[in-house]
Amino acid sequence: MSYNWNWHIFWELSPEGNGTYLDMLFSGLYWTLATSLSAWVLALVAGSIVGIARTLPIKPLQWLAAAYVEVFRNVPLLVQLFLWYFVLPEVVPHAFGLWLKQMPNAAFYSSVVGVGFFTSARVAEQLRAGIIALPPGQPMAGKALGLSLAQVYRYVLLPVAYRIILPPLTSEFLNTIKNTSVALTIGLLELTARARSMQEFSFQVFEAFTAATVLYLLINLVVVVAMQLLERRLAISGHFGGK
């Protein structure tokens, strides 16, 4: 193997002048986490609205929500990021477009919005599946007590639906973290981008990518453990009433 290993590379100063290569990687880690969490919040909010809309007894709303899901699911994430980052500033009113182009951290905001909406379609589908998995007697019982439709969703359906979909939501969150790496194409300096920079400056390819790999695996581990704790706290003792 004609590769020169140098595990001390992490403590050497990077040519960017901001510290060591390790600092560079941690900076990337920070941006990965910031983008993932922000995008995830957006995905949960938008996805919940769309997911609920898909189950409401109003046909036009259902159709709109279904169209939303199809659009965001059938276009690759990379293309969606390009649309938010390159195309949006060009098609909005001129002044707004200029402001978008001059925004500092434009890549970050585009990534959050892009990954957020991409993921929201998947969250919507999962929430819809969770809601329709409930026995039809549950909303009926709520209705029979005089609860309005909004109250039935708020107090009867959603609290249980969200608990049901915690496992697939966890996977979706892990996917979100992975997907932020695609944003390196629009200049987001997240973890994979920094590992690539480190490789380009120092030629220590395998050290750089091993570090990135380890960090991603650590994030995964933390998320999985945290979600398991959350699941345990929220578990409903026993099953649904009835058979």
């Binding site: 193997m1 649309l83 098609v91």
Partner: protein, 230 residues
């Protein structure tokens, strides 16, 4: 707002976009699906086989691959494959492997990991009684797999496998990070050469949407037909 857009650029570059770009995307998707699918099925069988060590290795590989971003995996294989080639062929420097070959290997190995999980679920969903019945008439483990379990597992999992293929079709756009010209790459090149970002990226989005949406409608249709048959 839509004032100085020139959608004619799409018509002018259509040949390049589709003959060069899209054919590459479709070829890569097809190769990845077939080869990755075959490898993935083998991996699934290994995971479920009652032998020591190897199933654990496969499990570790599958979990690792599914935990890492595809972009990172593309870089990994891009740099690793030449060294593996050097080790395999005994050369004295890393073997030069083009971006295309290494991305083909990347996608194939990633697809194999995802296919492995789908096929594993499929195989496990076929009741153990089927395997037992097959063994009882004298078939070996491999024969039971080949003639009894796998055909049924495969048929049950077709919707999931097709959906995974559609996902892979979209994921191939990531070859962008190693500067390969697939459909998106072609659109991007035209966009930058002619300064027509809006038109080209919008067009790319529409094309990807049409292909993926049509394919997913087909899958849904197949699923519905399957339900009636059962």
């Amino acid at each position: 707002m839509f004032g100085n857009l020139d959608f004619d650029v799409i018509r002018r570059s259509a040949g390049y976009l589709f003959f060069d770009g899209m054919s590459f995307t479709l070829t890569l998707t097809a190769l990845t699906t077939v080869i990755g699918g075959a490898i993935g099925t083998v991996l699934a069988m290994i995971r479920l086989a009652p032998i020591p060590v190897l199933p654990k290795v496969v499990t570790a590989y599958v979990n690792l691959t599914r935990s890492l971003p595809l972009v990172l995996l593309i870089f990994w294989f891009y740099f690793l494959v030449p060294y593996v080639g050097q080790w395999l062929t005994g050369a004295d420097r890393p073997v030069h492997v083009g971006a295309f070959s290494s991305s083909l290997i990347t996608f194939t190995m990633v697809e194999a990991a995802y296919f492995c999980e789908i096929m594993r679920a499929g195989i496990q969903s076929i009741a153990a009684s089927q395997t037992n019945a097959a063994r009882a008439v004298g078939l070996s483990y491999l024969q039971a797999m080949r003639y009894v379990v796998l055909p049924q597992a495969f048929r049950n999992m077709v919707p999931l496998l097709l959906t995974q293929t559609i996902v892979m079709f979209q994921d191939t756009s990531l070859v962008y990070v190693v500067s390969i010209t697939d459909f998106l790459g072609a659109a991007s090149k035209v966009a930058q050469r002619d300064g027509r970002l809006v038109e080209m990226y919008l067009f790319a989005a529409v094309v990807y949407f049409c292909f993926s949406f049509a394919a997913s409608m087909l899958v849904r249709h197949l699923q519905r037909r399957n339900e009636f048959v059962h």
